[in-house]
Amino acid sequence: MNDPLLFRPAQPGTQPDNNSPQYRSTGARHPKQPLLAWPHTVTEATGPQFTPAQFAPIVDLSMSGGKLAMGERIIVRGRVTDEDDRPVANTMIEVWQANAAGRYNHPGDQHDAALDPNFTGEGRVFTDADGWYQYVTIKPGAYPWGNHANAWRPNHIHYSLFGAGFATRLITQMYFPGDPLLALDPIFHTVPDAAARERLISKFDLDITKPDWALGYRFDVVLRGRLATPMEG
């Protein structure tokens, strides 16, 4: 059996450090021992393959049971590619978010803001053959959190992607352009590289915007690519 190709290591500065003291919860939750260096094997190079038949898509979060959720309806569209700019086809994307008032439909969220019976905040879409995905939702609100005095999270939508293998797993957050809270957000700033942070911010897109209906935002995601040649580690 041929050895699997290795997935590329992260470009310096483009991924957060799990030890990021400005984000307080990392304090007791980051390992202090170095990670065990390990070249990818079949365990890391393969991964789950999800199908819409077993994981039913949820492409419109802006209504529930035929009733409209409160807030500003938006369309989010984008493309998932790998680092070699190849489309990642038929891959599952999970999204979740707070409602327009800045509250999650979650028992742990006790923020004094309205819950919306018509907004659950869970979505699930699959990319097409060329890597494109799209869903409709409500623009999430900002909300306070306990990290430091007067701390507020910028508007964001959580993303979960799988890609080709266990090694390409990605959990991230999509932000919105022009949000004044981005400059103040410790989680956003755990990514050292400014250009890498900028890529977490969606772009307003008039071509995605549907006249008389909803604004459109573009958010592309890049999953790790493979090194061109096998390399023993």
């Binding site: 470009q11 799990n18 304090g27 680092e83 999650y104 991230t172």
Partner: protein, 173 residues
């Protein structure tokens, strides 16, 4: 060439995408030696990690219509997670090597910005002695952190320590 998108934490509200049946990898009718994998996750202050998302991937048996190979479980208020699955077999390593049966575990949580990757091997498995990953870990206590212990019939326990004394070995991926 493009650069891979940065991770951000899964946060405390990821349960909006949780579907508890996903912790049962046998739900589509998998056949094999059924087992339960349980474990408790604690942090550097020895407090239970009660809001974690644990994902399991096993390359063996091969995933198919009756076996997804992947599962997701939450930790409860005591930091405990639980999967129902079937026992994996050995899989090839790099070069001419063989890896002992193991689960790959990804751990996401509030306060974890990327993901923490570890493996659960099986105590008493003969192939452990020649497993290429286990043999990279010299310290016996560290090595033991990668090995699930039997806890009654067909139940295996894999506790995870994020930081400090008894810290689990986490693996680069």
């Amino acid at each position: 060439m493009s650069v891979a998108t940065a991770f951000q934490t899964i946060g405390p509200y990821w349960h909006l995408i949780e579907h508890p049946e996903e912790a049962d990898l046998t739900r589509f009718g998998a056949t094999g030696e059924a087992l339960t994998l349980v474990g408790r996750i604690i942090d550097g202050a020895r407090a239970p990690v009660a809001d974690a998302c644990v994902e399991l991937w096993q390359a063996s048996p091969e995933a198919g219509p009756h076996f997804p190979g992947w599962g997701r479980a939450r930790t409860d208020a005591n930091g405990e997670y639980r999967f129902t699955t079937v026992k994996p077999g050995p899989v090839p390593g790099r070069g001419n090597t063989l890896q002992a049966p193991h689960f790959a575990l990804n751990l996401f949580a509030r306060g974890v910005l990327t993901r923490l990757y570890t493996r659960a091997y099986f105590q008493g498995e003969a192939l452990n002695a020649t497993d290429p990953l286990l043999n990279l870990v010299d310290d016996p206590q560290r090595r033991a952190s990668l090995i699930a212990k039997p806890e009654g019939a067909a139940v295996w326990r894999m506790d995870i320590v994020l930081q400090g004394e008894g810290e689990t070995v986490f693996i680069e991926v």
